[in-house]
């Protein structure tokens, strides 16, 4: 695959956005990631799959700066990323959702989503304390953006509900909304469809595709539902026990014997 091409359904895939080079991550004796390299291209949907405990979530954590790998380099937009705190990574334009939902339970849905835009709000302390000038203006502008996302994800009616009370599936959706609110270049999704039924997965798929399509957001996605992975992703990385055992288009991966043995169990249709 060369730089910049157009997919079958007419989406533009660009050059390499994020490049992981020879990443190794250990926790004490446990080697969670063992010398893995892969890249993510501008505009694509990249899936990471693998059995439980393979190190997929750990990989996302490395990308978002929460884990610091013992070895390896992370390149983003053609630059090598130095040591960074997670919030600095977020400011580069990387947003994510979490496997075990990490919403702010004490806040309403709206406030949760607004936290996604925190880095875009620049009003000074006194302006905020007086609620005057920039603070108020910014609040309303950003609120408008957030409302668009709320409409897009069809969660208008729970806007003012504290997220703690929501059922699992809606929480996942709110988490997606929060990530989207940051208008990221790269969106990391850790099992966005776990615990959903087919109907809901369909909805979620629709959102992911639309985000990718309309905003051109690059997406990296971990998912255990093979149907979803095969249908949505452009390329798939397969991990097992911290190693990379496959990388390629869904079709290539599906027919890779090692992947079938380690993960799929049976060949998926």
């Amino acid at each position: 695959m060369q730089d910049g091409h157009v997919t079958a359904d007419g989406r533009q895939i660009g050059g390499v956005l994020m490049d992981m080079k020879n990443i190794t991550l250990r926790f004490g004796g446990v080697v969670a990631i063992k010398d893995i390299s892969f890249d993510i291209r501008q505009g694509e949907i990249r899936a990471i799959i693998g059995p439980n405990g393979a190190g997929k979530s750990s990989m996302l954590n490395v990308i978002s700066g929460f884990y610091v790998p013992q070895e390896g380099e992370v390149w983003f937009r053609g630059e090598k990323r130095g040591p960074m705190r997670p919030y600095q990574v977020a400011r580069l334009g990387i947003a994510r959702t979490f496997q075990n939902i990490a919403l702010f339970d004490g806040m309403t849905v709206l406030d949760n989503i607004m936290t996604g835009r925190l880095n875009r709000m620049k009003a000074g302390f006194f302006s905020q304390a007086l609620w005057w000038g920039r603070a108020e203006r910014e609040e309303n502008e950003n609120r408008e953006q957030v409302e668009k996302i709320i409409d897009f994800l069809e969660i208008q009616n729970i806007r003012k509900t504290p997220v703690g009370r929501l059922p699992y599936g809606l929480k996942k959706r709110v988490e997606l909304a929060r990530a989207l609110a940051a208008e990221p270049q790269l969106l990391l999704l850790d099992e966005p469809m776990a615990g959903m039924n087919v109907e809901e997965k369909e909805d979620m798929s629709r959102f992911i595709l639309d985000v990718n399509d309309e905003f051109g957001t690059t997406i990296a996605l971990i998912e255990h539902d093979m149907g979803v992975v095969m249908d949505l992703s452009d390329r798939v990385v397969v991990m097992d026990y911290g190693r990379k055992i496959g990388d390629g288009t869904p079709d290539e991966v599906r027919s890779n014997q090692e992947v079938i043995d380690a993960y799929l169990g049976v060949a998926h249709d």
Binding site: N61, F66, F98, Q99, N100, A102
Partner: protein
């Protein structure tokens, strides 16, 4: 040379003072380990236990004050005294009863609440018990005597004087406290680490709901743990009560136990002892050397600052369980 001996003496006495703090800290640790509850009432529990012990020993009429105020009677004592051993046993029984009531009336209704709420509830409990202790037994200062010796240990003094040419000061009460504390810690460690109940106790601390779901009866665990903590409080109450009389200020020793706890880790029984030793030695040596330069009375804050410094390097205390940070 003398300076060195003095320092050594301060060091030794610091260790012993630390043990006295640990006795109080142990109760905290137990309850924290078992329910994730930061039990502010531990100090008051010690006071209550000591008050009850003296009350029983001296044959006081419980609630005499209230009864007198309401019915115009003039009751004070039954006129008998109870032997120490029996009184201690009776008091231990009352502490179990108290544990039962606390579970029934307070904790049961707060299953699954956030730690700070439970913490608050124990503060409420502390107020209540403090008032109740006073109403039951009166607020005057009482002398507690269960036969523990007090004062300088002549044996140690003469022995060290013979060997080293300097007679060391050790308080006999402190020596006793050390032995009792060692015993308690050994027993508690064995209990928490190697028994089924001990494991269940730690499970409850992690997740109330999940513990319920596997059939651990929160009620039983809590009554058990609070009973043990009540017993530990009784021991602490006896020690401190013998040392400085039984009266309100006894409940304030909780404040001396907190830095110990913090340093040792909220969840570690050996931590409570080691923390106590470090704090005891640290604050005594600091007061001894630096105190005179800055005007003294440094012990209160120094213990906390010392613990704080340790925490910056180990946020879970020396022996506390690692704080799990994952997403």
């Amino acid at each position: 040379m003398d300076q060195l001996f003095f320092a050594a003496e301060v060091f030794l006495n610091g260790l012993m003072a630390g043990v006295m703090y640990s006795l109080v800290a142990l109760g905290f640790v137990l309850i924290f380990k078992a329910s994730g509850v930061f039990n502010y009432a531990q100090g008051v529990l010690a006071l209550f236990a000591a008050l009850t012990l003296v009350g029983i020993q001296q044959g006081q009429v419980p609630f005499a004050h209230l009864i007198n105020a309401m019915f115009g009677t003039n009751l004070h004592h039954f006129g008998w005294t109870v032997p120490s051993i029996l009184a201690i046993a009776l008091t231990a029984g009352i502490m179990v009863l108290l544990a039962f009531l606390i579970e029934k009336l307070v904790l049961q209704h707060l299953v699954g609440q956030e730690p700070i709420i439970l913490f608050m509830a124990t503060i409420g409990l502390a107020y209540f018990l403090e008032g109740m202790g006073d109403v039951m037994w009166g607020a005057d200062i009482k002398t507690l005597d269960v036969g523990l010796p007090q004062g300088i240990s002549d044996t140690v003094e003469t022995m060290t004087a013979d060997w080293l040419g300097y007679g060391f000061f050790l308080d006999r009460l402190d020596i006793w406290a050390t032995m009792i504390a060692a015993l308690l810690v050994a027993a508690l460690v064995a209990f928490a680490q190697y028994t089924k109940q001990g494991r269940a106790m730690r499970a409850v601390a992690d997740d109330h709901q999940a513990a319920l779901s596997v059939g651990i009866s929160l009620r039983f665990i809590w009554v058990m743990v609070w009973s043990i903590a009540g017993f530990v409080a009784l021991v602490a109450g006896i020690m401190w009560g013998t040392k400085s009389g039984v009266q309100f200020s006894l409940s304030l020793i909780a404040l001396k136990a907190l830095p110990v706890l913090m340093l040792g880790g909220f969840t570690s029984i050996p931590g409570a002892i080691v923390g106590g030793l470090i704090i005891g030695v640290g604050e005594k040596l600091f007061e001894f050397w630096i105190g005179p330069l800055v005007g003294g009375a440094t012990e209160n804050w120094f213990a906390y600052v010392l613990a704080l410094v340790f925490l910056v390097f180990r946020p879970q205390g020396l022996f506390g369980e690692r704080i799990i940070e994952r997403v």
